[in-house]
Symmetry: D2
Subunit: 154 residues, 4 copies
């Protein structure tokens, strides 16, 4: 079992579940405390997820074009240190588990240029049919793209 | 002719083209200059227009329900003095002329609680069919509601 | 002890810990899913807290004027149903426990006009000295205003 | 004189007054019309100006560090075509004239990936001392950096 874990940790493709994207903080994102307003971090997570999908050669636009939408149903944010004007932050987005049925959970970490962790966010989204607003299974094409990265069988 | 102008100026219903609405400035609207970020004033104008329509017993939602949308095509803002956190600002929205064809122009003035003018905004919108995205005439029902307030004939 | 709890539950002033405030959804808050963008709810909570303080005849501006700031350190949001354009939502803000030391936790519930619960948010803030950015005790004046509403002694 | 104009038009360094920066449209920027909300363009201009300064090896943060702030006093936006979700827009920022005294005017053009012009914005800012909020001259260091690009003498 130990060996199995080790193998898992060293599998190169495991890194591909994580996508990094950078955002330069502009003035509109600051508040009069002189830091980024806490309410804007949800947007940073969203940008991180879009980039994560793009690394799979996919996009949220493609998903909507199939008639599927992905509303956010739960967010948990922890604010450790503030981001500031002109900071170039990195949003690291990770899918830790293969999505089951209609639910997908992303973990986001936000770092400043010095590599200090500023913020974490766990975001749960559902797959839903835009037509009837009923929950649906994760689209097959997305499941396939992810399959290679998760152990599925044993 | 002078008499005609005078009559116009003293017509009491002329005041009804103007609708006032109040907005309390919350933290998210401030920036690190300690004032309201300039980019948020377009939202104040939007809120002013919605309230202006509501005073006509109408709403922008009703307009969209008819298949008509009203994209903004031009904004000119002048920033005279800053609004600050917790200020209770008043957005005064005025339609100065009966809209012609597909075009409507609103004039907005923003005041603080002391009655000081902080900002003005002139916003031009078009009436367009949502279906084909072509410009269309102002909806008849809105024209009727406005007719009483403007001299139409001579 | 049972009697004590009962008394607590029936104390009329207990309702005063909860403040309701209403927000009309404007267009800027919607996204192309046709609902309020999830990232904007943190602003609704902020507006709720400001109103909650105002009901105590106090304001966040007063707190900042004392050299104390209140950064948000944790948010947990649950999205049950979407808010939509022109909805008049109610933000219900509750302080469930007397704040201890540097920490205060608010519970927010958001309802639509039909009284349906749309969203809940638990927000933790710290009291900090603006000067040295160190955590500090809840300001004495705020503690006093709250003291009447919580059992403090035995 | 014609020759002079020609020479001006062909001076290679003249292009350096213009800085291009790209922005990927995320969901938060859309509204229920399915396009970017008009109120967000002021942020695009701001991002364009910051990038323009960065190309001069300078930043707005440096300006604030000198005790100078640059409030926006006038914006004129024209909306020709909408930007949409996932569009990669280009903000082209140009300083057409050497700033005089306390005033600087930027011209912004926003293009989509096909090179279609979507929007233009003319933004006027003042240089002001943060301490007393009085207008002041353009900082000497910024004037120097710009001097090479404009004919100053004859």
């Amino acid at each position: 079992m130990t060996w199995k874990i080790l193998e898992k940790l060293t599998q190169p493709h495991h890194k591909m579940f994580t996508a990094d994207t950078q955002i330069r903080i502009h003035y509109a994102l600051t508040d009069q405390m002189g830091v980024v307003y806490h309410g804007h971090y949800a947007q940073f997570y969203e940008i991180g997820r879009a980039e994560w999908l793009r690394k799979l050669n996919y996009s949220y636009k493609d998903i909507e074009a199939m008639g599927v939408i992905m509303p956010v149903v739960d967010i948990h944010s922890r604010f450790l240190r503030p981001a500031k004007y002109e900071d170039l932050i990195t949003v690291r987005t990770t899918l830790k588990e293969m999505p089951l049925h209609h639910k997908i959970v992303f973990h986001h970490e936000i770092y400043n240029e010095q590599g200090t962790l500023l913020n974490t966010g766990d975001v749960t989204l559902y797959f839903m049919n835009a037509k009837d607003m009923k929950r649906c299974e994760i689209p097959a094409i997305l499941k396939e793209k992810l399959a290679g990265y998760f152990e599925t069988g044993q």
